[in-house]
């Protein structure tokens, strides 16, 4: 049984420490009115209703993904979940389920298998939109998205999906936290935390409330499945609309990194009730050009007040920054050293958030373009470059001393600035039958350059028969 690709996130202490502090987080908290005495809640009935509404819209998503991590391009079969959100067969699932898929098949509720195409993906929020390949006339039952802002801790919820490949499973729990901040995973959105069992294979499936409406898309879980996290439906709504319209989510990038005024994980408490702190300004970024500095307090963005008191407030602010127009400047009101400062910032397009992959088959290694968002440590050393993603074992690159994460500086004495450069050089070298089968490659490893000799005289992919044939030639 092939296990799905739900992210298993080992929760850090930060998570445990950052409690869902009702009294401190400034947002609306709904307190349910107490039930009138004598009114019984039929849980079973609630579940049955919800299930009846959503179950028919659940799909088991089986993508075949191209994976480059092991030094060669290979296909991996995954199992995940998805939910049909429109009558004509649009399916929402996670990005990590659908990304780099060469083929996707979905098993529907009526036990039919249908192929699906990827309309668009958003890595930052881990969402993807698929379209089932069916006759245009065919109509599907579809799920509705609830308003995730109205979700309360403690309310019942169900996770539907295919944990461990076990299709059409339901697990029951409560919403453990409705505003969960996860370090490193909460760029533009917070999470719903639940104790409904979420396991590998549940990725992309719905988190459903007692009304049968989708409040979240299940994405992350802990190793033993006891705690799970879902993308709130309001985030899903926004992203899916974008993907439907543009096949991607266009975001702006300012180059500013934020930190909250009160950080409980780091015991760092700055004074003030308003604004958000600038932690870092990327060199050469629009924020730097606009004159923002580390330590500034951003009070308003385009007239809108931004309050980053706690970590939980940051995703919303980042989302605001991500929606700023790139065609014109936006006014920022800051406070610096106690004095007000005003700057105008024109962000740029965020662009691609992950570099492309390439399999250099004959050399037995895979490379990836360095991307400032995906590979910040490598980007630090090489702003335009390519690095070794994986080295096949056994293989030519591995034997000649190549390691994963080596940044490729030069191939055959020529500088490499992009994946395209590498591909061109690779093709040209292989085509040149007159040359010796070895290439000098200069790499950057642990900050220091090294010259490696890539000897590819041996062809690892040829069967003995093929080898005999080529040598005859």
């Amino acid at each position: 049984m092939r296990y799905g690709a739900a992210w298993l996130v080992v929760l850090t202490a930060a998570l445990a420490a950052g409690g869902c502090t009702d009294s401190l987080v400034k947002m609306e908290v709904k307190v349910s009115p107490p039930q009138a005495a004598g009114h019984e809640v039929d849980i079973q009935a609630m579940i049955a209703r919800a299930k009846a509404k959503v179950f028919p819209t659940l799909v088991y998503v089986k993508p075949i993904q191209e994976d480059y991590s092991a030094g060669k391009k290979r296909r991996v079969v995954l199992g995940g979940s998805g939910i049909i959100i429109s009558a004509d067969g649009y399916v929402v699932t996670n990005n990590h389920v659908a990304e780099k898929a060469v083929e996707i098949h979905c098993v529907l509720f009526d036990d039919t298998m249908v192929e699906a195409t990827v309309i668009g993906t958003d890595k930052d929020t881990d969402l993807a939109l698929l379209k089932l390949k069916v006759d245009p006339q065919r109509q599907f039952a579809f799920a509705t998205l609830a308003d995730s802002d109205k979700v309360e801790e403690g309310q019942f919820c169900m996770a539907l999906g295919a944990p461990w490949g076990l299709k059409r499973s339901i697990s029951l729990g409560v919403v453990s936290c409705a505003q969960r901040f996860l370090e490193g995973e909460s760029e533009y959105s917070l999470w719903l935390q639940t104790d409904a069992a979420i396991n590998p294979g549940n990725s992309g499936g719905p988190l459903v409330d007692t009304n049968g409406e989708v409040i979240g898309i299940n994405t992350l879980g802990t190793f033993n499945g006891s705690t799970g996290f879902s993308i709130p439906s309001n985030t899903v709504r926004y992203v899916i609309a974008q993907l439907q319209a543009h096949k991607e989510v266009r975001r702006s990038w300012t180059g500013v990194r934020l930190q909250p005024l009160r950080d409980f994980d780091r015991d760092s408490f700055f004074e003030g009730e308003r604004g958000v702190l600038v932690a870092s300004v990327d060199p050469g970024s629009p924020a730097e050009q606009a004159g923002l500095e580390v330590g500034d307090l951003i009070l308003t963005v385009g007239g809108e007040a931004v309050d980053g008191l706690y970590n939980e407030n940051l995703p919303k602010i980042r989302a605001i920054l991500g929606r700023l127009p790139t065609s014109q400047p936006t006014a920022f009101q800051l406070q610096r050293g106690g004095r007000p400062v005003a700057v105008n910032l024109t962000p740029r397009e965020k662009g691609v958030v992950e570099g492309q992959d390439l399999d250099l088959k004959r050399w037995n290694l895979t490379v990836k373009a360095i991307n400032e968002y995906n590979d910040p440590e490598m980007y630090y050393y090489d702003k335009e470059g390519v690095y070794v993603q994986g080295v096949q074992y056994p293989g030519n690159a591995q034997e000649c001393g190549f390691h994963g994460n080596d940044i490729i500086l030069k191939v055959d004495g020529k500088e490499v600035k992009s994946l395209k450069d590498v591909k061109e050089l690779y093709d040209a070298i292989l085509k040149d039958s007159g040359r010796k089968k070895r290439v000098p490659v200069e790499v950057l490893r642990n900050g220091m350059p090294q010259l490696l000799v890539l000897d590819y005289a041996r062809d690892y992919d040829q069967t003995p028969q093929q080898k005999a044939e080529t040598t005859k030639e």
């Binding site: 760092s268 932690a279 870092s280 910040p376 900050g447 010259l451």
Partner: protein, 777 residues
Amino acid sequence: MSRTAILLVVVILTALTTGTWAQAPASGSAAAAATSVAAVPSGAAATAARAEHRNHKLEMAKKAQTTAAEYLVRVATRWQKDQGEYPTIGSSGDETGNTDESGANSMESSVDGKRSTEKPALLLDPAAGLVLAPDGAVEPRFIEFIKGFTADGKEFPLKLFGFYLNTGGTLYQTDKWPGTPAPLPWVEGKVEPFSEAFETSLTRGRLGWEVSVEGASSGGELIQASDRPMPEELLTSFNRGNLIFDESARPLGFILEDYPNSVTGGRFPWRGTDLATAPVVKMADFEKAKPERIDRLGKYVYEIKIVYRQPEEGEENLQFEGDDRTSLTQYYYGYAVSPTQILVPVKLGKVFIQRIKQITVQVGEREVRFAFRGAYLNFGGFLIEFHDNQDRGFGLPQVLPLEGPALPEVNRAMLTYVAERKFGRRRDTVWYNRLAGYSKGYNDRLWPRPLNDMARGTLALTFDEKPLGLCLPERQPEREKKDGEGRYGANETVRLYRLSELAAALKNPQEHFDPTLKPASEQEEKRTVWLGVEYQAMSPELAAMLDDLAGGGQAQKLSRNGELGLRVTWVHKHSPAEKAGLASGDVLLEIREEGKDEPIELRPRGEDGGGYSGYVSRSRSRGGYYQGQGGRAGYLTGLLTRLGAGTKITLVYLHGQEKVSQPFTLEWAPYDNASANKFKDEKTGVTVKDLTYDVRALLRLADDQPGVIVSKTEDGQKAAVADISQGVIITEINGKPLKNVEDYEQAMTAIQQGKTGTAVMKLLWMGKNRMVKIEFP
């Protein structure tokens, strides 16, 4: 024991010079010569004479053999060494590795740590039951048993009786001699020169022990009358333990010594008559005198306790010799060479010296503080000096005299004394030894070669206790420089130094000290010498590739197909390498030290030299920054540091297609991460270091980038909570940029000293900033 097979082995060598050949005719013509050669020795007379001579010889040989069979015996000793004890049978060998040539005459074997030795011996005095064997006695305390065996295998017990004073012979005694032969009828008085002799020995052959006899001649004058074993001519094939007979099969002498003639390699026989009368030191007397000797000689020696400091983070543990290999408190024994100085006969490596924390000497009842003064360059010893300024009246009571008699002649016995630490306590040993000869060693120096190994620290004396020499580990400064030795190792060679040789070094120690061996501050200890390059090791593939790229270069030729050479991958700013124009891609080949003939080829061991490994972790989660291990631990740095700052060298390297020779005067490297100034901020729980050139290079920081780098974070303290981990750079505190650790210390002390204080730190990691606010208390 096997039966004796009496084999007649008669080897009649050539070179009879009695002129029985026919003379060639005086005419010089070839034809005439041809004719004369064709004229073979003629005459039945000549043939008959030769035959008679041969028969006579055979008869004499047989007679010698028969006599020998009655008097030659074997002595077998079984003894056990303590762990690390040094007694071995036989000499220590010379530089070329030739050991004493005892041939088939003595055997040694080792079972379960016990050793058995068999030696050839002679029944010298049957009445007294005395058996004489070549020297090599084991100290009585090691002996398990001694047995004797006659030529036909009868066993009899033996005890150590004594040893000869002037030659290398040991006497054993038995009270159960099987049989009662008369003493050997030695030839007495002056001996006329003769041309042939017989040599008999008890050897191990294929059928067991057998008495063999060989005839030998030298073609010239032979044994002269002498009461000392120094005849003018030698017989070349004699071995130790052989009984020598003259032409008429009369017993002449016995070979005891080990001292070969340097030209012919033969040995000298002692006249039998002399053996009976030569002076002997009786073991019983020797043992009886031991306690008093130890008492007297022990006064030269002092027990020294050295406490070494704990290793710092990233430093290796020290490995010591002796009983307790890992304890940081070690004991040594040294000799007082002046009222305030003690010479410790131990070769300590650089790291050990630099980690000395405290030295105390047991003087009577007191433990007195001493200080390390220096270690000698040309031999393995170091000097410590009385340290306490308050005690003006202090003086070590008994001082080793630095002048004394010359070393005894070869084979004369001398007294030895040594104090060692065994099983947790001091153990003094008095024994004897002899010089077996002299041999050439390092730098062609002629060394006395003792018969038995002597431990370092052994004092050699005359029998009336006048000091002659001291055993010290040898030092080979040139070789150590090249190979990076000078380590505390068990493979050191111990040599016997005459006290007069040491006098100069002891009187003017400063001039004779090794300048590179001195205690230093922790920081200085870690300083290195640099050229300023990072490199990767050459390999055959790389050399071939470099030549391809150059379209036929010299890389393969000069690096000997990738066997040697360091390819430069980085040149540090403001370094000597940069100033001299070295660049990435240059291949460093060899270093020639000024004044030395042999160049040092650059051959790093292992894959990569230089640079850091794993400095920056690839972890994507927070933290995960990994500090380089111990700093600049590369091969080239080690070599340059051993050569020393100030040394003039010529660096030979390949620059493009050209071989370049560049002179350098080696300089100290600037402080690096391992030796950087640091400050431990206890209240915050973090240790910070200056941003040194290597960190700046690695992280591509601008020269004017302010900050200090975190080298250690204590668990659970404020810094750890604030997520300030190893590798993070603290650039500002409360808005003020930090230039160095002094700035950090100043800022934090001011904040922490107040009743309450706040530090707002600006952090930098991989190009990203962050602010933290830390409150005190």
